[in-house]
Amino acid sequence: MTTTLPTRSAAKTPTPVASAPRRRKPRAYKTFRVVALTLTVLLFIAPLAWMLIASLKSNVDIFDASKTLFFTPTLDNYDNVLSRNNYLIFIFNSFWVALLSTLFSLLIGVPAAYAMSRFAMHRSALVVLMARIIPGVSLLVPWYFIFANMRMVGGFGVLILSHMFVALPLIVYIMISYFDSTPLELEEQAQVDGLTHIGAFLRITLPLSVPGLATAGILSFIFSWNNFMFALVLSGANTKTLPVAIFNFVSYASIDWGSLMAAAVVVTVPIMVIALFTQKYIVSGLTAGATKG
């Protein structure tokens, strides 16, 4: 990081300012850039690789410093996690909670975002977006009480509702900026051709917004899958999601590191695979609003 500045300014020295029509960075800068980028990639990937490696080691090998990189890989940890600790159930729970909370949030969030964008309902939008600021803990006590009264604590309904609290503001936020950038002309054209306002929204705008919907949906799925605090309080023994299951892994006297890492891999790999295939959408969703100023 500190080396950036000297090298970047060193880059200009051999470049004659006026006589270089195409900017050609000197070799030193190119080398520096390759080294810096390699270091960056290593910094972000190495810990994840370490997690993967540890998940393939027996616990004896994890404790043996001489076997840091050279060891006999084993799938025992995965076997332990998936068959003996019933992680398949938790994977199933996480998946359904994430999927349903995303779908329901899209169902109510997308029309709301549309109305807020087209009618410039800034105050309403602000109310929904406030949900991004509120500390989740401040909702948990009332929620726990309300849902305990309705005998819903420990069920899927309450988990889905609580995860919608995360998903909905995200979807509204992304979709508002998406609808803001969608031209009005096509909708107006459709109305001239006889569609109603709602018809134009359903038949013209919505199909055109598929990239935006994908962005919002994927991100909200990821955030719900990763959510820990709500499920920690509101889930029951049978409705635990993966992050809670992993957390419970360490509350025993000694930590079974191999299995813990296998469990960590089990929760992160699906989401990373999704991220690899939908990179474009994730980036556009995360950076929504970054350039609006």
Binding site: L43, V141, L286
Partner: protein, 307 residues
């Protein structure tokens, strides 16, 4: 739907006309009702609990105690103020490093190059990784006895560090974890800002003979002000509310010396370990006000700068 509208008048037409006339509210209503029921009501309840001595069970009888909870919390130099301090240190420290590091990486990625795709994938992975799993992963790496971190230190002759288990090293270590996971977010946001800049100001400065550093500091950075502020606001909100990695690595109360107990962890412990709902709600109200105040200052400054 539309074919129905053009045919004979019917109940459906009436309904459709009505729906189209009030579509603004019809569309917004479900989301607003959700927000009202699941967010506004609980928030109001929290506000109410903060002036009661509710304890043990929310159902148990409680008395209105006025502002005495606030007095108690605001004079609590044992747990509350240290937690405020830690929240600020954690957020401020992590955010500052993330911004500087993120800007450096964004500048590296700015101009296209071969293999760009792979670098982008690499920085996306920490971002989507489940925070609890990330916490567990670093817990193994920073384990004082078997962790890779101390192994590396021993290769270069530095004595082993306690990392997460040390009273004074735990918070900085967790700031590092936060930086590892969320710098990519800052990179992506700044990169989106950089790519949207026009080349001309930079080009003009180049012709005027400005060097790389001058062009960055006097041309690019001022143009990036809006993006940087949005990044600070969004990342800052999340950093203030950090819960997962703290709780996953240090557990209840932020460790035996409360060494990583931020406001969020403190409020969570008061609510679900001590069941002290009155005080917990007071802490949460103050926490919420604090976040709003910080956001207000940041966005207010933005408006002031713009006009």
């Amino acid at each position: 739907m539309t074919t129905m509208v053009t045919t004979k008048p019917s109940m459906w037409t009436n309904y459709s006309t009505w729906a189209n006339r009030y579509r603004k509210w019809l569309f917004a209503a479900p989301a607003m009702i959700f927000v009202g029921l699941l967010i506004a009501v609980p928030l109001g309840w929290t506000l109410y609990l903060s002036v009661t001595d509710s304890e043990g069970s929310v159902r148990a009888a409680s008395n209105l105690v006025g502002l005495s909870n606030y007095f108690e919390v605001l004079t609590d130099t044992d747990r509350f103020w240290p937690a405020v301090m830690r929240t600020f240190v954690f957020t401020g420290g992590a955010l500052a490093v993330e911004l500087v590091l993120g800007m450096c990486i964004a500048l590296l990625l700015w101009r296209p190059f071969r293999g760009e795709k792979w670098v982008r994938v690499a920085i996306l992975l920490p971002l989507v990784a489940t925070p609890v799993a990330v916490g567990m992963m670093w817990r193994l790496i920073f384990d004082p006895n078997i962790g890779f971190a101390n192994q590396v230190l021993s290769w270069i002759g530095i004595p082993a560090q306690p990392w997460l288990s040390g009273q004074y090293t735990a918070l900085p270590t967790l700031m590092f974890v936060d930086i590892w996971q969320w710098t990519p977010m800052v990179v992506l946001m700044l990169l989106a800002g950089l790519t949207s800049l026009s080349d001309e100001p930079d080009e003009a400065a180049r012709i005027d003979g400005a060097n790389s550093w001058q062009r960055f500091w006097f041309v690019t950075l001022p143009l990036m002000r809006a993006t940087v502020i949005v990044t600070v606001v969004l990342r800052g909100i999340d950093a203030l509310k950090t819960f997962d990695i703290l709780y996953a690595t240090k557990g209840k109360g932020g460790g035996s010396f409360h060494e990583v107990e931020t406001l969020n962890i403190y409020a969570f412990g008061l609510s679900f370990d001590y069941n002290d709902y009155g005080i917990a709600s007071t802490v949460l109200v103050l926490f919420f006000l604090l976040i709003i105040a910080i956001m207000w200052v940041l966005t207010y400054r933005r408006k002031a700068n713009r006009s």
